[in-house]
């Protein structure tokens, strides 16, 4: 295991985890959203270290560049900057969250015992390879991909139907 990539990984992972904690720890919704953007960026950097450049770029463009901008837009539009309103929750919530995160780690634990050395997939992250895999009719991923796009289309149409009084 090359140490340089290990150091990179731990720096990025630390930033990602800390900013992910900040997302839930911040009382200010705008700061939470910003922390989430930082998480997305570090995850994108992790993708790059795994030689998945296309996914890294899509992560930034879609999540950090579009979805989080929409989140910020909504937060600012509703002016959710009153921090007092959020602290009213009971004291049960943190304990349940802690317990559930323990369960989550247990569920994930098989992943830590995968065989072999952890390494990046070679030549997988380029646009060309992903396209060749995704749109290849002899491989099983074309159908789920198309179904997902139809699902998104349904969601869009549903949003319009619900938002418009008269179509």
């Amino acid at each position: 295991m090359p140490t340089a990539s290990l150091v990179t990984f731990f720096i990025l992972a630390t930033i990602a985890v800390i900013s992910a904690i900040m997302v839930v720890a911040n009382v200010n919704p705008v700061r939470s959203a910003l922390s989430l953007v930082v998480t997305f960026l570090t995850v994108a950097a992790l993708y790059i270290t795994l030689e998945a450049q296309f996914i890294a770029a899509v992560q930034i463009i879609v999540y950090a560049g579009a979805i989080m901008v929409l989140f910020l837009f909504v937060i600012m539009l509703l002016n959710l900057s009153a921090p007092g309103a959020i602290k009213e929750k009971g004291k049960l919530q943190p304990r349940v969250a802690l317990a559930l995160s323990g369960v989550f780690i247990l569920v994930l634990s098989p992943l830590f015992t995968l065989p072999g050395d952890p390494r990046a997939a070679q030549n997988l992250g380029t646009v060309r390879t992903i396209g060749l895999f995704l749109y290849n009719p002899t491989l099983p991923w074309l159908f789920p991909f198309e179904v997902t796009s139809i699902l998104l289309l349904v969601a869009v149409i549903g949003a319009i139907v619900m938002a418009k009084r008269r179509i």
Partner: protein, 527 residues
């Protein structure tokens, strides 16, 4: 030595300069060049803007500081530097100070994958000429990288508007985010048209794809000329969409609603003064340079000269690139002097009801055009299958991979396996139930089938030619699947064999084998 001088006359650099290997330095040169250029040219851009607008509005323009007012921007910069830092009460301090930085950094970094020029080097070892693109990072997602950074840039504006704790600023920030989301889609569609023509996301390859004859039989002087650049090749419409969207993305007039001075005082930077304001200014101009550079690379041939004439070709490509970028900047200024600001609903209408449908329709047209006319033979070729073979997936247990797989490619192996294993006694070779019981049953119920197949070559040469190879391939497949159970290389088992001939080829092979098993079955029943 004369060779080197002669090369330099033709723009070919030596590989080594003393102990220094020049090609290895190219990214650093590009990095220093781009950042230095952007930081150094911004005062020049402001001066250009003032002079050109004065020209268009029939005014004198800057004429006091320096010759032709050249130093006016310097004076402004010094003034901004020494201005008092004003911070209003009850701002969100951290974000308030972070916003100008966020506005500026992505704009500076965005130039990282712009192809400035193609450099030619003469190899010392072989004497052959090889090329290196003069760019910071020649990555396979170069175009997406610029798009990603330009989409990050809106955070500076939005956060500035929010952190200032000012109604006008907040409105400006809201407008900026809505505007960016609306126009990013149209921009992406117009860029996709070019990507389909070029078949690559590397900007230097996109530029290289424009260095062709505009149409078959064109004179050589038109190779890589204005007419073969993508603004014309993609049918002008993507270029128009991109230009409108790039102006909207950089919040410039007539799309400068986030800082509309007639309604919002100064919009998102109302509360910013001194160097923080200057950083917003720098970020705006740097992003203008980046999107103009992308425009030049995508639609205007990047570093190619407008005509393939030796006199023009002697000028370095980077000069042509800068000329094209500057033309874009002047176009910005021209629009600012000409058009009034859009109303907000007109802005949204233009983005969602005009540009987006137009872009979608045109992308469809370009897909059909590039698929049927330009690259009719662009199927999954041998090269792509080689590329898939090179893909090495970690952590995919082979058996799970095989189970989710399309059953079709497995059929031939399974079908032949019982018949091959028939000599060894029964369908034990596969270790897995055959997907089609009819043929499997035929092979099992009729152990003489391979014998018949061996006897057939004299009778039927079309099917009999293959039994030997068929007899080998199932065994190799059997060993491969047996080994894949142990967890090695799931991919080469089926995918490469499925891809090279594309589905059609696969199916014909399947059909042949179906016919063969049918024929052997008939023979068996005959027997």
């Amino acid at each position: 030595m004369s060779q080197t001088v002669n090369d330099l006359m033709h723009g070919i650099l030596p590989e080594h300069l003393g102990p220094v290997q020049i090609p290895a330095l190219v990214p650093y040169v590009a990095l220093a060049g781009i950042i230095g250029f952007i930081l150094a040219i911004v005062p020049g851009l402001i001066w250009i803007e003032r002079v050109v607008i004065a020209l268009m509005q029939d005014r004198s323009g800057p004429n006091r500081v320096g010759p032709r007012g050249l130093l006016q921007t310097m004076a402004d910069g010094v003034k901004l530097f020494f201005k008092e830092e004003i911070m209003p009460r009850s701002v969100d301090v951290k974000i308030y100070y972070l916003a100008p930085i966020i506005a500026m950094i992505p704009a500076l970094a965005g130039g990282g994958t712009l192809p400035l020029q193609v450099l030619h080097f003469r190899s010392d070892a072989t004497g052959a000429i090889f090329t290196r693109p003069l760019m910071v990072g020649d990555v396979n997602i170069g175009l997406l990288y610029i798009l990603a950074l330009s989409s990050l840039q809106v955070y500076g504006v939005v956060l500035a508007g929010w952190a200032s704790n000012n109604k006008y600023s907040l409105l400006g920030g809201l407008r900026a985010s809505a505007q960016l989301i609306s126009y990013e889609l149209a921009m992406g569609l117009s860029i996709l048209c070019v990507v389909m023509l070029a078949g690559s996301l590397r900007l230097n390859e996109i530029v290289a794809k424009q260095n062709v004859l505009p149409f078959a039989g064109a004179p050589e002087i038109l190779r890589g000329s204005v007419f073969s650049w993508f603004w014309l090749q993609s049918g002008i419409i993507p270029f128009i969409i991109y230009t409108i969207a790039m102006i909207a993305e950089t919040n410039r007039a007539p799309f400068d609603l986030p800082e509309a001075e007639s309604e919002l005082i100064a919009g998102f930077h109302t509360e910013y003064s001194s160097m923080k304001f200057a950083m917003f200014f720098m970020g705006e101009y740097a992003s203008m340079l980046t999107v103009c550079g992308l425009n030049a690379a995508l639609f205007w041939g990047g570093s190619l000269p407008p005509f393939n004439i030796p006199v023009l070709a002697m000028i370095p490509g980077v000069v042509w690139f800068i000329i094209k970028v500057m033309a874009g900047i002047v176009f910005y200024v021209w629009l600012r002097a000409t058009l009034p600001r859009l109303r907000y609903d007109a802005l949204m209408n233009l983005g969602w009801k005009r540009l987006l449908p137009l872009g979608l329709v045109w992308m469809f047209v370009m897909a059909v055009w590039s698929g049927l006319v330009l690259h009719p033979d662009n199927k999954a070729s041998a090269a792509t299958s080689v590329q898939l073979e090179n893909v090495d997936l970690p952590f995919v247990p082979a058996n799970t991979y095989k189970e989710i797989e399309d059953p079709k490619p497995v059929v031939p192996n399974q079908k032949v396996l019982p018949s091959a294993g028939g000599t060894g006694g029964g369908p034990a070779g596969g270790g897995r139930p055959a997907p089609q019981p009819a043929t499997g049953g035929a092979g099992a119920s009729n152990p003489q089938a391979p014998g018949r197949g061996g006897a057939q070559p004299q009778a039927n040469p079309t099917t009999g030619g293959s039994p030997a190879t068929e007899g080998q391939s199932p065994s190799s497949f059997g060993s491969a699947s047996g080994a894949s159970g142990a967890g090695v290389a799931p991919m080469p088992v089926t995918a490469p064999s499925g891809i090279p001939g594309s589905p059609g080829g696969q199916r014909t092979r399947l059909n042949q084998q179906n016919q063969k098993t049918e024929s052997t079955g008939e023979n068996g029943s005959d027997h």
